[in-house]
Amino acid sequence: MDLHFGDSKPTDEEREAVDALLGPPGSAWEAPFGDSTVRSEADLRWARGGRAARERRDLLLPGLHAVNDRVGWISDGALDYLCRRLTVPPAEAYGVATFYSMFSVKPRPATVLHVCTDVVCAAAGSAELCAAVEGRLGLGSGVSVERSPCLGLCERAPAALVVRAGSGAGAGADAPHEPGAEKPYATAVIAPATPEATVLAASAPEAAEPEPPASLAVPQAGQPGLTLLRRIGVVDPASLDDYRSHGGYAALRRAFTLGPAGVIREVTDAGLVGRGGAAFPTGVKWKATASQPDRPHYLVCNADESEPGTFKDRVLMEGDPYSLIEAMTIAGYAVGAHKGYLYLRGEYPRALRLLSNAIGQARARGLLGDDVLGQGYAFDIEIRRGAGAYICGEETALFNSIEGYRGEPRSKPPFPVEKGLFGKPTAENNVETLVNVLPILTMGAEAYAAIGTEKSTGPKLFCVSGSVERPGIYELPFGATLGELLDLAGKPGNLRAVLLGGAAGGFVRADEMDIPLTFEGTRAAGTTLGSGVVLAVDDTVPLPRILLRIAEFFRDESCGQCVPCRVGTVRQEEALHRIAERTGAAAAGDIALLREVGRAMRDASICGLGQTAWNAVESAIDRLGAYE
């Protein structure tokens, strides 16, 4: 490689932010442009960098975060300096920085207010919230107001998130204010958001009202009979001792007595299938990974959770973070991995804090590290923060994102179990999938498989939001009906439709309450369970507006790699705009157009985003008669 870094310089602050992550430059070759202070005798005789530096390419995303967290945006000088340190071509790094919506390569205020304008929040008044907040903040407020896709706080809609750049940002904890320093990095979550509270939090995020505990998102919290949610609201999510006193780490002990093959057998016998949307059998995935001769193996936990209407993974991570750490350790042990990556969406500051704490504690107590539980098994977990890109939840896009490339899906085959993260065999699982491994090991495969139905075993989490009395996360055994779930959550009298499975899922009618909530039952009903979204829509919300918002979401979130999705999502949104106010014959032409484009998107797109981007709209037309 013949790299060219230009002559832009980082500011002291930007340089400090990068050095805090990577350490000081090792030689003059890594130093910022024009900086001769670190030049040593040896530097004049040979150039280092090359391979060793290139192997750190995966630090590009953390590096971009470091600068963005500190300054609020990424300047040419900062980007070039980061590139010099990592031997990454600036053009590629620029391509990466511009891929994520939480980064900016143009100057902007240090404080960014993300206001969710997605389906649930829109129905709860996010447009009015935005207008009111912008009105109050006025010009020159030093706050950049940005409209955001679902923030994963749908049970408390409308939602907003403040991120204020400043010093002391780092692996999770909001560092204490250094005396004399400028404002420190701070985040605040406001949900439900009133204009007053939002403006207040935007001007002083460090002083914002604390968030309610995660258990408030679990209406069943504390009830007997829960499996996945049983510790939420019961344990202190910050305390390892409390976790252990509530049964924590019993599953890992059992795993060590079973051995890796034994764990995989239990998970297979339990019939566990993935909860991330694709419903792939977990045992099959683990076995395929474990049996690959190529080394090392990796475990990746997909905690990107950006499907609109989905917030179960957040609640699990915030309410019971150690369970995920324990489950990842077991999964890593089963597939023969010594390193696990936890890819967490960038918009979850509290989950980041709690998980960082949990990992630190587990490491300090020998539950992670060189010799887990004294069993001679080495395993550690690293958190990687996403930076605002739904597509990074797609398994191969997630690998690219961790590796420091644009979060574009790879074409399959080869599949991740063969060539995944860093080109090595990788098992990637959703948070909820992993957490299910704990009850499988503690109660045994047979008892676990007895829950639910024959083909959909175990307990399932549902993210209920929209027009219901008690929105939140519900746990039910597979096989309960949609009606039963909605009765628990307080079904409105004027229910019009339910969006099942999120934006990539489909609508069902209010008279289809008998649909059994299982993979096979929803499939038989011509719909999908997806990521467990149950979004209730009453007859006061105009359906065309919801469909437009869904189309806008896919257009915004398409990675842009393949034509059917890159252009198709734009044409879909345009057609929906044209027919927003029309029905019947006036809409027929555009509906035919939508069908043709939708069919090609489903058939010819590279990944699930383009393949499913037309599902919800199609179901609204066919099942709900949206434009009749």
Binding site: P89, E92, Y94, S411, G560, V563, E574, A600, A604, I606
Partner: protein, 286 residues
Amino acid sequence: MTAIPLGVPRRLVEFTLDGQEARVPEGSTILDACRAAGKDIPTLCEGDTLTPKNACRVCVVEVEGARTLAPACSRKAEAGMEVRTDTERARHSRKVVLELLASSVNLSTTPRAAEWIKEYEAKPDRFGPDAARVDEEPRVDNDLYVRDYDKCILCYKCVDACGDQWQNTFAISVVGRGFDARIAVEHDAPLTDSACVYCGNCIEVCPTGALSFKSEFDMRAAGTWNEAEQTETTTVCAYCGVGCNLTLHVQDNEIVKVTSPHDNPVTHGNLCIKGRFGYQHVQNRD
């Protein structure tokens, strides 16, 4: 004499292609097999010297048992596969992809685009006059080549040619996301402020004319570009000892651009700035 690298003999894979038995060496793509069988599948992002990114999706075919269509240019033929290249389903996707492309960018200098649009009965106009277009002005910021992203289909070929597949300069990448994604250099700067070394290998691979010689761009603007009247002469570059092959495109006794044969086993169509752009000295008439 050109040396043809033989390599290790490869096993043959047997599968069915449109109902016919097909046998191709292991590792061949479905497209390789189609071409060997004389079938014409449209392709845009595929190129003979690069690993295709399979991003355009115009070459999709139906593989029995698969949920979605497969890109013929990248999917390897597997034993026992049943592939259909000309089904209604595959043709529908190709048609829509051509419509989506032609309605958003300018395909006027893309070879064969017009022919395929006709063959597949694609109607790019049906998205209406307000359909979003890429709408970019040509970037003329140096004397050697012009970037006209209004013609860019984001095939990633220039990125790969500048990056790890050939030039190893990494001056070009895709920036932004979705419909706003564009090809750009670092910080979206002018080419002259970038890492570009003007080897022109990106122009060599660009399938749409989005990247072109300044000479060609100017002649097209003046209406004097006439490919039918051009002659092509392949010769050897005289600048250095590498000895790359140059193909001189000559119109009215003037060299109007320089390409390089892709089947040359040493250079595969790559040149450096001297061979690609340094031709004025042979026609200096001062």
